[in-house]
């Protein structure tokens, strides 16, 4: 196939596609014009990354152009690279990211202005932006940036309407506004619903009906514990007709141990937790006692401020307890190298940068790492401020390169006695009597810190001191010059970000997407909040509650918004395909851990034990061996017995060869801090669910227990399996399909001795008194049901 030959065909078939859409598109414009307006931000015609968010809708202009909502995203994306916060690459000494800069006279002509409010013709910036001449056009062609026609019109209209400026929304302290009024006053169950409903109603829509009880129960179980309800749980809930039946469930789940495991699993992505050091030979490390603390902290409902302060600066707390020191291990989870020959300082710097970036992303939702080499291109974060933050994390007495078999200092030694007395949440194995655990500890004195030119470890620039981004909140004298001071700064009442960022992630946890879709970027290039007032209401409420995480999750779970059906009507698909309005519950693929845990739990294989050293369930043989240099973790030896069936957050994480079944389902690599995951659907995922011994064995075990109940009829067995996996009874159609599938297997299936090999997969023994023919048929049935879309989707 040469390109030449291929082109015409390609175009022909493209047109085949495009023409109907052109038609549809025009039709749609005609239909949807009014409702698109306020919901959407102006669309760029560029192909974007996964950021999604509130964007899209390139039809019609809003009546009133809002700077933050409509103008700034365009300026940031298309102009800031040369006329933004980074002084190092600023062109023509002109900046458009600040009010002063944007309205000032031009440097080369005191009588000319880039922006003249109300006067489009005399606004030089507009002249350049609307220019067709490549020599004067902005952005210049070589930038590969382009404004869409729509974007230009937005800027024009903004100027015509007076070019009113406002500050970046995320840096303004949140205030609690009154909950809005709604038409349908009987729908809302709590404050959240008023905000959501008001917007739904403003679009002329109404919320969806309530999800049926089984769906709702499964949803809240998966969200709050990461495990499905048992059949007994379902029956109990179905038979409970009291008005607070659901609330009782929510309370029960929040009080369960599984809740802490579910929450810890997400926090491990943020903390880039792993059981190996990550670089080159990727040696084993022991950080699981820190992970046990995280589970404990969530289960104890440690308030978020303490949860964070201990992790950032537990070691610096007055009379720091052992628990607080253990918590500070958070910022030692980064990768560490032992590669022979590396330059020590180069890697030590890398670790300090990692802590700085992780802390910024996790707590402020800012891409601070962009300011490592130069001023941030989009946000008011200077390189000097980056190194100001860096200073806090630059005080450890640590090495860049460690020896083989060395626990990187600083660390503490935990004896079993100490664990028994004070740290009982750490699940020390009986065979172990002491553990070295990496923690934070500043060296005596002060390490001088310098700005590093271009981010290079030995290119020292000016000396810097403890500091934070001023545009967020000044690091005033009231804060101590150490990590504890930094921790206090995050939780200062005037910090505009900390609370917003965390409630947004809790929202993301419960709805799949945050109110700010870019939960990792609250800056200029990030998505705008779809419901800014709700976000602020939640942020302030969270703070006012004493940073009570369980209370906030309960608030969300109890909302009518959360309890809606996820059914997608044609009307909703048409008007709100991205479900920005939340006029229905979202549907999305479950996280990797939940998918596997669901398989283990519903088959009865799950070993419900909290904490302890990480475990090694089944993994295809040879994966570690084929990439190793022969040192360290050279061979993956699966565990035996119950350790094969632990929850997935306990699966041993070797960074250079992470567990394939987890990675295939979009788990984070743990190389660095991640606050959200992709939700893709790939053929490799299908292969895991069809063929992973973990799933095949679970299918067989579920079939076994089903068959062991001799009172069940054929139909009842099918229902039992179906309901165990999906938490509901099959419909008549589904039941018939399952029956015909069983018929197929039993009548036409392979009944040779070899065919029973499928029953030998997995370590769990097969009871002697069971019919292998029957077991094989039900194993295949269960395996099919584990593969249903519904089994891996939150609905």
């Amino acid at each position: 196939m040469t390109t030449k030959k291929h082109l015409p065909k390609k175009w022909k078939s493209l047109w085949f596609f495009i023409v109907p859409f052109l038609f549809l598109f025009l039709f749609k414009m005609f239909l949807n014009r009014p409702s698109e307006r306020d919901l959407k931000v102006i669309k760029s015609d560029e192909h974007n990354g996964s950021e999604g968010g509130a964007a899209v809708g390139d039809v019609g202009l809003p009546d009133v152009i809002d700077y933050s909502l409509h103008v700034k995203p365009i300026l940031s994306d298309k102009c800031y690279a040369c006329h933004g916060p980074d002084g190092g690459t600023r062109e023509a000494d002109f900046r458009i990211d600040t009010k002063e800069g944007a309205y000032a006279a031009l440097k080369d002509d005191a009588h000319a202005f880039a922006i003249v409010p109300g006067d489009f013709e005399n606004s030089i910036a507009m002249k350049r932006i609307f220019s067709e001449d490549p020599k004067t056009q902005m952005p210049p062609p070589e930038s590969n940036l382009k404004l869409s026609g729509n974007e230009k019109q937005v800027l024009k209209k903004w100027i015509e309407q007076g070019a009113v400026w406002s500050d970046h929304w995320a840096f303004v302290k949140p205030k609690k506004k009154e909950v809005p009024g709604v038409g349908n006053t009987s729908w809302p169950k709590n404050e959240i619903d008023y905000f959501i409903l008001a917007k739904i109603e403003s679009e002329g829509l109404s919320p969806s009906e309530k999800a049926d009880k089984e769906t709702l129960l499964r949803r809240v179980y998966l969200d709050l514990t990461g495990l499905p309800p048992s059949l007994e749980d379902i029956d109990e809930f179905l038979s409970d007709q009291s008005s607070d039946a659901y609330e009782k469930v929510v309370d029960k789940l929040l009080a369960s141990d599984a809740y802490g495991e579910r929450m810890a699993s997400g926090w491990m992505d943020i903390a880039r937790y792993a059981d190996s050091h990550g670089y080159q030979d990727d040696l084993e490390r022991v950080m699981w006692p820190w992970r046990d603390w995280v589970i404990h902290a969530f289960n104890e409902n440690l308030p978020y401020d303490k949860f964070i302060k201990w992790q950032l600066a537990g070691d610096l707390m007055p009379n720091a307890s052992m628990e607080q020191i253990v918590a500070s291990g958070f910022n030692r989870n980064h990768k560490i190298t032992q590669e022979g020959g590396v330059i020590d300082e180069e890697y030590r710097v890398e670790y300090v940068v990692d802590r700085t970036s992780t802390t910024s992303k996790a707590l402020m939702g800012l891409t601070m790492e962009c300011a490592r080499c130069h001023d941030h291109k989009y946000d008011p974060l200077s390189q000097e401020e980056f190194y100001g933050m860096y200073t806090f994390f630059n005080q450890l007495d640590e090495k860049g390169r460690i020896e083989y078999n060395e626990t990187p200092a600083p660390f503490i030694t935990l004896t079993d006695e100490e664990v028994n007395d004070n740290l009982s949440f750490i699940q020390m194995p009986d065979s172990v009597n002491k553990i070295d655990l990496m923690v934070m500890k500043d060296a005596p004195g002060l390490r001088k810190t310098y700005l590093l030119e271009r981010g290079v470890y030995d290119a020292k620039g000016k000396e810097v001191s403890f500091n934070t981004p001023e545009s967020v909140l000044e690091f005033s004298d009231k804060f101590e010059n150490n990590r504890l001071g930094l921790a206090e700064w995050f939780f200062d009442d005037d910090n505009p970000l900390t609370s917003r960022v965390y409630v947004n992630r809790l929202w993301q946890h419960m709805f799949g997407v945050g109110i700010v879709a870019t939960s990792d970027d609250f800056g200029s290039q990030g998505a705008l909040p779809t419901h800014p007032e709700l976000l602020d209401w939640m942020a302030v409420s969270f703070k006012d509650s004493g940073w009570d995480i369980k209370a906030m999750l309960k608030k969300i779970a109890m909302s009518a918004t959360y309890q809606q059906s996820s059914k997608i009507t044609p009307k909703l698909l048409k008007t709100d395909p991205d479900n920005i309005l939340l006029a229905r519950a979202p549907r999305y693929k479950l996280p990797a851990e939940v998918i596997r845990d669901n398989v283990l739990a519903t088959s009865g294989l799950l070993e419900e034990k909290i904490g302890g050293p990480s475990v090694k369930p089944y993994q295809p043989p040879g994966l570690w061996a084929e990439t190793t240099s022969g040192v360290g973790l050279t061979k993956y030896i699966p565990d035996t017995g119950k350790s094969l069936y632990r929850r997935s957050l306990y699966t041993f994480w070797k960074r250079t060869v992470p567990p394939p079944s987890m990675i295939t389902f979009d788990a984070a690599t743990r190389d660095f801090c991640e606050v959200k995951r992709q939700k893709t659907s790939t053929p490799l995922q299908a292969l895991v669910l069809l063929n992973d011994p973990q799933v095949v064995e679970a299918s067989r075990v579920l079939a076994t227990t089903t068959l062991q109940n001799e009172t069940l009829s054929r139909e009842e067995r099918i229902k039992h399996i179906f309901r165990s996996v999906l938490s509901r009874y099959p419909s008549q159609k589904e039941l018939e399909n399952c029956i015909s599938y069983l018929d197929d297997i039993e009548e036409d299936g392979d009944n040779s001795e070899e065919a029973f090999a499928i029953l030998e997969i997995g370590a769990r023994e097969i009871p002697a008194d069971i019919s292998k023919h029957q077991l094989r048929a039900y194993t295949l049935l269960a395996n099919m049901i584990f593969n249903l879309d519904e089994a891996v989707t939150k609905i």
């Binding site: 085949f16 859409f21 590969n144 991205d578 250079t656 690599t669 292969l687 895991v688 015909s740 197929d744």
Partner: protein, 491 residues
């Protein structure tokens, strides 16, 4: 994974559904979101629109290469023993590397403590080959024979001096992990050309020169922030050539088919009830998986190759998992229009015992590499397949450790090293760049890793500055903020 398929399931999906759903009923829409339904399960890739002109509007210009096979030599092969002939080093054998040549270049911690840096020349003879008179040492006789097919770059240079950052840099354009691999970028930008094999396929082998060579990391073929549809898929010389590919023991293909039919029907019930187009996507994924279960073993089963092919690739090619066997597999994948095939051959890290080790390393790869190139050529594939051979950095001109009459070693050297390319639009029988007489510095025509990336993308029809992916507000490129296309390399 067909283009169309990805098209719908990746970035344009939402846009598409939004529009499609407007005037059409749920049923018609369901069909439209499921490419396999639209064209029928047996449709081939040609019937589908090429994503080439999809969301990225790629390629930007007519490509010279449509496929790449990257033969990565992990560990850092010594350019001084293979391609970069430096007779001066023989003359100065045992004398110290002059500071006027070193010019403050940083050293790894492995030799920075050495009292002196005794220069050492290659123990292997060099000759010039072909009409192009390319220098090749006796270690690479088969490569020497095809010198007129090859385009040598003598002046590669990189920023990292240690393996992990250097390999990561070569594969992703960044020394620190987190960016997409080159193959993932190709998959993202150019899409797939077939509908039953992964766009980005990966094969590993272990060198015999140094059995415990430098480790590899699966992130080297990772998708970084791109969709996991673009991750490299490892093909392994084991029972399950792709992870979880094989049906469980005791399950026939007919039974698998039956299960998938029931599964699809059950999923359709859900789609009817909930109207979620994602369900159709899931059904399509299962069909793709089913196809892969056949197409991958077919491709991996090289028993049907005629014996003269095995002889061409050399005796190792009979042994699954060797570099030679992987070269045959690479050719089979390329024949099926897999966009990017990445091989890694470990063991090129000759800090000590260089002579003993490098002979075996070279023997591992010499004949199979030459055979792969000529095999592609005889099948008419070389003209639009770019072959690249090279490691993450070169090696020092001085001995690491004690220099004896028969033994020496070489440390990592980032300032100049050699790679070669073939096919895919590069100049055949051409040598580019000059290093100094010491084999230490570039004196003419340097090629930075970013430049090589820019050039590879250019050959694929991609402007490296315009193939971007916006992640956390920033437009990322394979070439970060640098890179120049080296036009002189292009034929």
């Amino acid at each position: 994974m067909s283009e169309l398929y990805k098209h719908f399931n990746h970035n344009n999906r939402r846009h598409f559904i939004k529009n499609a759903s407007l005037a059409l009923g749920g049923l018609a829409m369901a069909a439209m979101t499921d490419p396999l339904k639209i064209f029928g399960a047996n449709s081939n890739a040609q019937a589908m629109p090429d994503l080439g002109n999809g969301p990225l509007n790629l390629p930007h210009f007519a490509p010279k290469a449509k496929r790449v096979v990257y033969l990565f030599q992990s560990g850092g092969p010594s350019q001084l023993e293979l391609f970069d002939y430096k007779p001066l080093l023989h003359k100065l054998r045992g004398t110290d590397l002059p500071e006027s040549v070193r010019m403050g270049q940083r050293l790894t911690g492995m030799t920075s403590g050495q009292a002196n840096f005794p220069l050492v020349g290659s123990q292997y003879k060099f000759n010039q080959y072909g009409q192009s008179r390319a220098w090749v040492s006796d270690l690479m006789p088969y490569t020497a024979k095809i010198a007129d097919e090859l385009c040598f770059v003598k002046t590669m240079h990189t920023e990292a001096i240690n393996h992990d950052p250097a390999i990561t840099f070569f594969q992703t354009g960044s020394q620190q992990s987190g960016r997409p691999s080159m193959g993932s970028w190709m998959s993202y930008g150019l899409g797939s050309m077939n509908d039953n094999l992964p766009t980005f396929s990966v094969l590993l082998s272990r060198g015999t020169g140094r059995l415990n060579g430098q480790p590899l990391y699966s992130r080297l073929w990772g998708n970084g922030f791109l969709s996991s549809l673009h991750q490299g898929v490892q093909f392994r010389a084991v029972k399950d050539p792709v992870l979880y590919l094989k049906d469980p023991d005791g399950m026939s293909r007919a039974e698998r088919r039956k299960m998938l039919d029931h599964l699809a029907e059950m999923n359709h019930f859900q789609e009817e009830k909930f109207g979620d187009p994602e369900i159709n996507s899931r059904i399509a994924q299962y069909e793709m998986a089913y196809k892969m279960q056949t197409s991958v073993p077919e491709t991996m089963n090289i028993d049907d190759e005629p014996d003269h092919i095995f002889r061409m690739y050399g005796p190792d090619s009979y042994k699954p998992g060797t570099y030679a066997a992987n070269c045959i597999l690479a050719r089979r994948l390329l024949e099926k229009d897999v966009r990017f095939v990445q091989l890694y051959h470990m063991g090129w890290d000759q800090h000590d015992n260089l002579p003993g080790q490098i002979e075996k390393q070279a023997k591992d790869v010499d004949q199979p590499t030459a055979a792969l190139i000529m095999d592609l050529k005889q099948r008419g594939l070389l003209e639009d397949t770019l072959v690249i051979w090279g490691g993450e950095f070169g090696r020092t001109n001085y001995s690491q450790g004690v220099l004896t009459d028969t033994n020496y070693g070489r440390d990592h050297h980032p300032k100049c090293f050699s790679i070669f390319m073939a096919g895919g639009g590069v100049k055949p029988g051409f040598t580019y760049g000059e290093t100094d007489e010491f084999g230490y510095n570039v004196v003419k025509d340097p090629v930075h890793v970013h430049d090589l990336h820019a050039t590879i993308l250019h050959l694929m029809g991609v402007d490296h500055e315009r193939m971007t992916y916006k992640h956390q507000g920033r437009r990322f490129r394979l070439t970060d903020v640098a890179g120049n296309v080296i036009n002189d390399l292009i034929g």
